[in-house]
Amino acid sequence: MRSDTLLFLHVLAAMVLLGSAVTVAIMLVAVTRRIDDVARAGLLLHFAYRLNMLVTIPATVASIGFGEGLKAKADAVGTWLDVGSGLTYVGVLVGALVLHGFLRRGIAATEKGHAPSPSTMRGAASIAPAIVTAILVIAFLMSGKPA
């Protein structure tokens, strides 16, 4: 595959990833604000769970895959690349997998007719914005290529 095509697919996957991560974060903040509305919490957690599993995680893998292809083709090196790649693996991919667990726990509670526990929602609602922040920092590093 040509470098331009790899770059296009890499950026597109990253943009979809940010959109999906932001949607999940918005939903989790909305659930936290009205945690006692079990029906609403169940609806939003279900949707956040599916979005995280079907879009965020695959888009992260796609972005990493196209990025690695691009790195090999362009023979790119630099601190920006090391920091960006590290943040993608640890901050975004691991973060999305941990979030997956929190969302499952929240959904299990709403299916039993209970509100999700405050600790579950605190965990989920802090990981989701952290993932969004990590993606924004990565986008800044990858496009500006500082130092």
């Binding site: 331009d4 770059l7 296009f8 950026v11 597109l12 990253a14 943009m15 979809v16 940010l18 959109g19 999906s20 932001v22 949607t23 918005i26 939903m27 909305a30 029906a39 609403r40 609806l43 939003l44 949707f47 979005l51 879009v55 601190t79 920006w80 993606i135 924004l136 986008a139 800044f140 990858m142 496009s143 500006g144 290529k145 500082p146 130092a147």
Partner: protein, 161 residues
């Protein structure tokens, strides 16, 4: 690391970051709209459509950022706005905003209807389902997304540059 960032690096990073926010806002709005189309209860549709506002704000900030930092980049790099790929990208930016605005505004009224129906017993309504799934909104919103995608193609391949 940040101390060594040049003006060009700042501009390109902020321009790309803004483009990310613009497309992310579109994804937020699109995902919530599609989710709302699959629901029956007005309270659920209202809850999902109510969150679209955040996506619209994000897309708005992103579109302002892309044009401001994009113009600063054009000035910094002494590029000509007459270049085919640049003028096409600008035209597509305007088309994307126009389509997104036209497709998104009616959804606000659909949300008002959903909130009203939710307060009046929360029974499924054929009118609400028809309005939330109206094909014209989808065509306009997807058209806006495709215009952004076309801008990304132009920015990467820069045909004719």
């Amino acid at each position: 690391m940040l101390a060594s960032v040049t003006t060009f690096q700042w501009l390109i990073a902020l321009h790309v970051l803004s483009a990310f926010l613009m497309l992310a806002g579109g994804v937020v709005a699109g995902a919530l709209h599609v989710a709302a189309m699959k629901r029956e209860k007005p309270s659920e549709i209202a809850a999902l459509l109510g969150l679209i506002r955040s996506g619209v704000i994000l897309a708005g900030l992103g579109s302002i950022g892309t044009i401001v930092f994009g113009m600063l980049l054009v000035h910094h790099l002494h590029l000509s706005l007459g270049a085919g790929w640049l003028s096409a990208a600008l035209a597509l930016w305007v088309i994307s905003l126009a389509l997104g605005g036209a497709g998104g505004r009616p959804l606000r009224h659909v949300r008002y209807l959903a909130e009203q129906l939710a307060a009046d017993g929360d029974q499924p309504s054929a009118e609400l389902r028809a309005r939330v799934g109206a094909r014209i909104h989808l065509i306009l919103n997807w058209g806006s997304g495709l215009a952004i995608l076309a801008i990304l193609v132009l920015m990467i391949w820069k045909p004719g540059a």
